[in-house]
């Protein structure tokens, strides 16, 4: 009613919620020095509390809390202390309880019945609980023990839960001086003292317990239509909204540790959950009670926190679904259950925004120190330094086809504009030329002019004409176009070179050392020119070098082709040292089969049976071992192609040379057929058959 659920995070007027590990102040206090802000807390209608450490040891410190500065008050308090002191020293708890009760009742009258969920509300409820129970008197010894145990427990909880623990402390305010104007006089001052004394009766500890949300937890908010307050679900009337979360706001367990904890009493606690209704929470409360009952006398806060963290969801039967609501039900009687559920409009956005914040925080935690991030068109983000290095490496190695989004299975190429930024101008040019080259290579109908190296497009069969120098050449062998004549393979060229060399040397046309000046023309026609060439001694050095290069290239091509296969799309020669038959061309990224040199994509090629997985020779060898007769027949068949007939049984090629049947099965059938008057037309032209016919007739 008016208070938002986020109150706990705001600082209430009279409240300071400080993290438990504010050790510096604790220690400072234990030295017995006064608190810096010297004003004394006040009995106003708002509750005020001091830190536990200030008033820890015993009653005797009550006096010291009255700082010398606040003179107007000190007299009254002293009076109060002298009056109330006895009472205090005697049945202090009882008395305090009574006055406290009065206060609470006053508060009840004046303020709203619902204490709200803010820190104030929590503390008020706790106090209510506290005062509702008569604490028995304990010996000094026992109190000390309890105190020590509590202190230890607090330290332990802090070390386990860290930032999620809070101790509620009182804040000093200037209102202290207003006390005198309150018309309670003595009673008021009693209030002051009693308040002061109350403080060291207990400590309030709040723990925020973050539950580990199971994967795919869905939160559903259902709002029943007006007539269905009692929960009858009529699906047509129901309005529900579902969403998934990875983070839920924590369960806030607030404990008030009385003096007789842990020896006699459990802490007074409230459980506050934003996303559960009061009855569910009160189930949790009863569970906590039973946990205490299992081992009374021992510290229990850790057991509670642990249970809430790990077992509360399953206890409530929540597995994958949380249903918010029901809305509009009465408040549960259990004062300890504080439910944060307000209404659909409030709960859903607040849970969602909490979830989003936590996701974001988690995301931020996983970042490292990179300052700049680059976003690719596929919406993936990468650190700019890493992308730069990635691009540099691929451009340096020439593997520009691999310059894709590093995200696995994404495959989107890095856009050129981005590359320009990453690479710098020089490297970018390098990249451009590599890309051009790769693209042209992958196009099957592009050839480079042998004279000026400009790319040209192939016209018809193996012919292209350079647009720059108008050189018309054959795309296979890159020599001048030769219509009607078969291209020379590099081996042939080399052989020719050899022959001519020997020939020319033999005929004293070419001296041995002049061989380098000799460029073997490919076409036989050109031989005539050789002699002219030979005689011209003004061959430029450049040409010499070029010729030598060409020879070297021919030799190396020969060598390469002996062992390697060419990529079907870019013709890069690749030789395999080890590995399987599926090859990836490093140049253009094309997958191909090493056995049959075809482009493939995946492994299906091998399954279909299209690929010749073993070399033909091996198969032949195998077959030879199988059936010499078959082999003989094959050989015969090849020798006498005109006389080949297939055996009707097995399809084997056979050769019939003369009328004697070499393979009786075949001829027996034929003869039988002839006897019965049926003549096979294929056999008619055989000379032997004619004879049989003649014989017959």
């Amino acid at each position: 009613m008016g208070k938002s659920r986020r109150d706990k995070r705001h600082i209430e007027e009279s409240w300071t919620v400080k993290p438990l590990h504010d050790h510096s102040q604790h220690h400072h206090q234990q030295q017995g020095s006064d608190h810096e802000s010297s004003s004394v807390p006040v009995a106003s209608s708002q509750q005020q509390y001091i830190k536990k450490s200030e008033h820890k040891p015993s009653n005797s410190q009550v006096g010291s809390l009255n700082s010398p500065n606040s003179d107007p008050l000190s007299s009254s308090t002293e009076v109060g202390s002298s009056n109330c002191g006895e009472k205090v020293n005697g049945n202090k708890e009882k008395h305090l309880h009574e006055t406290k009760k009065e206060e609470i009742e006053e508060k009840k009258e004046e303020s709203q019945p619902d204490y709200g969920n803010g820190v104030d509300g929590v503390v008020t409820r706790l106090e209510e609980l506290f005062l509702g129970v008569e604490e028995q008197e304990l010996s000094e010894e026992q109190l000390r023990i309890n105190d020590q145990l509590q202190e230890d427990e607090l330290l332990a909880m802090e070390s386990i839960y860290g930032d999620n623990t809070f101790i509620l402390e009182r804040q000093r305010g200037l209102r202290s001086f207003q006390v005198t104007s309150v018309p309670y006089n003595l009673k008021a001052s009693c209030h002051v003292v009693q308040k002061l004394i109350i403080q060291h009766l207990y400590v309030i500890l709040q723990i925020h317990i973050h539950i580990e949300v199971p994967a795919e937890l869905t939160v559903t908010a259902k709002l029943y239509s007006v007539g269905d307050c009692n929960g009858k679900s009529d699906s047509s009337e129901e309005f529900s909204y579902s969403f998934q979360v990875q983070y839920l706001p924590p369960i806030e367990l607030t404990c008030l540790l009385p003096k007789s904890y842990p020896s006699h009493l459990p802490p007074y606690f409230t459980i506050s959950v934003q996303w559960l209704d009061s009855s569910s929470i009160s189930h949790l409360c009863s569970m906590l009670d039973s946990i205490w009952m299992e081992k009374p006398g021992l510290e229990v806060i850790y057991q509670w926190a642990d249970w809430l963290q790990n077992y509360s969801l399953s206890y409530l039967g929540i597995d994958k679904d949380i249903i918010l609501g029901p809305y509009g039900t009465k408040h549960n009687e259990d004062r300890r259950a504080i439910s944060g559920i307000v209404s659909l409009e409030v709960d859903v956005p607040s849970l969602r925004s909490y979830n989003d914040e936590q996701c974001h925080e988690n995301f931020c935690k996983n970042l490292h120190e990179c300052s700049d991030f680059i976003r690719l068109p596929c919406q993936h983000f990468f650190c700019s330094k890493c992308m730069k290095r990635y691009s540099d490496i691929h451009v340096a190695e020439g593997t520009v086809n691999k310059l894709q989004c590093p995200e696995s299975k994404c495959g989107v190429m890095v856009p050129p504009g981005l590359l320009k930024q990453l690479l710098g101008d020089e490297e970018y040019e390098h990249w451009e030329s590599l890309m051009l080259q790769k693209t042209l290579e992958s196009m099957s109908d592009v050839a480079y002019c042998p004279r000026c190296e400009t790319p040209c497009i192939e016209d018809e069969e193996q012919h292209a004409q350079c647009s720059k120098c108008l050189y018309s050449f054959c795309t296979f062998c890159r020599e001048r176009r030769h219509i009607g004549i078969v291209c020379m393979t590099p081996e042939m060229k080399l052989q020719l070179l050899e022959i001519w060399r020997i020939d020319l040397i033999k005929n004293d046309i070419l001296a041995l050392e002049d061989f380098d000046n000799f460029l073997a023309p490919v076409q036989v026609k050109r031989i005539g020119k050789v002699r002219e060439r030979q005689n011209s001694s003004h061959l430029k050095d450049g040409q010499k070098i070029k010729e030598r290069e060409m020879i070297n290239e021919l030799l190396s091509v020969k060598e390469i082709l002996r062992d390697a296969k060419q990529c079907p799309s870019c013709k890069m020669a690749i030789s395999r040292t080890e590995g399987c038959n599926k090859m990836v061309c490093q140049n253009c990224g094309q997958f191909f089969c090493y056995r049959c040199n075809q482009e493939i994509d995946g492994y299906d090629h091998y399954k279909d049976g299209q690929c010749e997985l073993f070399p033909q020779e091996e198969i032949q060898q195998w077959e030879e071992r199988m059936n010499p007769r078959q082999v003989m027949a094959q050989v015969h068949a090849e020798l006498f192609p005109d006389h080949v007939i297939t055996c009707p049984n097995c399809g084997q090629f056979n050769v019939k040379k003369d009328c004697e049947a070499q393979f009786s099965a075949f001829w027996t059938k034929r003869l039988q057929a002839a006897h019965s008057g049926i003549v096979a037309s294929t056999a008619l032209n055989q000379p032997g058959w004619k004879r049989i016919l003649e014989i017959q007739h």
Partner: protein, 183 residues
């Protein structure tokens, strides 16, 4: 640049944190051995292999090189050299992958689902296709003989030098090819 070595360190640490036994060589973080257990629902279960990992200088932009030191009977692992034919390691490597991925996902998947249609070890592939139980039996036999925990500690030295050659060759082949692309 410090970030690549930082990445190496991180990967190595992550691997160690995921309870894999790692043996460093020379503290250089260039190469090391990892003890890998056969995945649970495969015939390789119970076998322990020593796997040599070599991180190239350009890691993570270049894939690590992976090889089995002690013998394994698998269609996609060369029995003699121990090199692994796995597309994610050789061809489709991404800098987003790390060593934990390799040992947690890629290698177990390879052992659970070999690819016999394009094998390095033809015999294993053929056996797997024709007689699955016999294949599994063979795998187990090999595990008994070569992949016992005692074998890991005493992996033969000569083997690793052979394997180095073939793996390096394999790697450098790729580099050479790439080098040729430059005009």
């Amino acid at each position: 640049m410090s970030s690549p070595s930082k990445r190496r360190e991180m990967d190595l640490m992550k691997l160690m944190m995921s309870d894999y036994k790692v043996e460093l060589i020379n503290d250089g973080m260039q190469e090391f051995y990892v003890h890998f257990n056969g995945p649970i629902e495969s015939p390789y279960h119970g076998g322990v292999w020593r796997i040599r990992v070599e991180l190239p200088n350009a890691y993570p932009y270049k894939s690590p090189s992976i090889g089995f030191v002690n013998k394994i009977y698998h269609p996609n692992v060369d029995e003699m050299s121990g090199s692994v034919c796995l597309d994610v390691i050789n061809q489709t490597w991404s800098p987003m992958f790390d060593l934990v991925n390799v040992f947690e996902v890629f290698l177990p998947q390879l052992l659970l689902y070999p690819n016999p249609s394009d094998p390095l070890n033809g015999e294993a592939a053929a056996l797997m296709m024709s007689d699955k139980p016999a294949y599994e039996q063979r795998v187990k036999e090999y595990c008994e003989i070569y992949a016992k925990p005692e074998d890991i500690g005493a992996a033969p030295e000569e083997k690793s030098s052979d394997e180095e050659l073939s793996e390096d060759e394999y790697e450098s082949l790729g580099d050479e090819m790439a080098g040729q692309a430059d005009p």
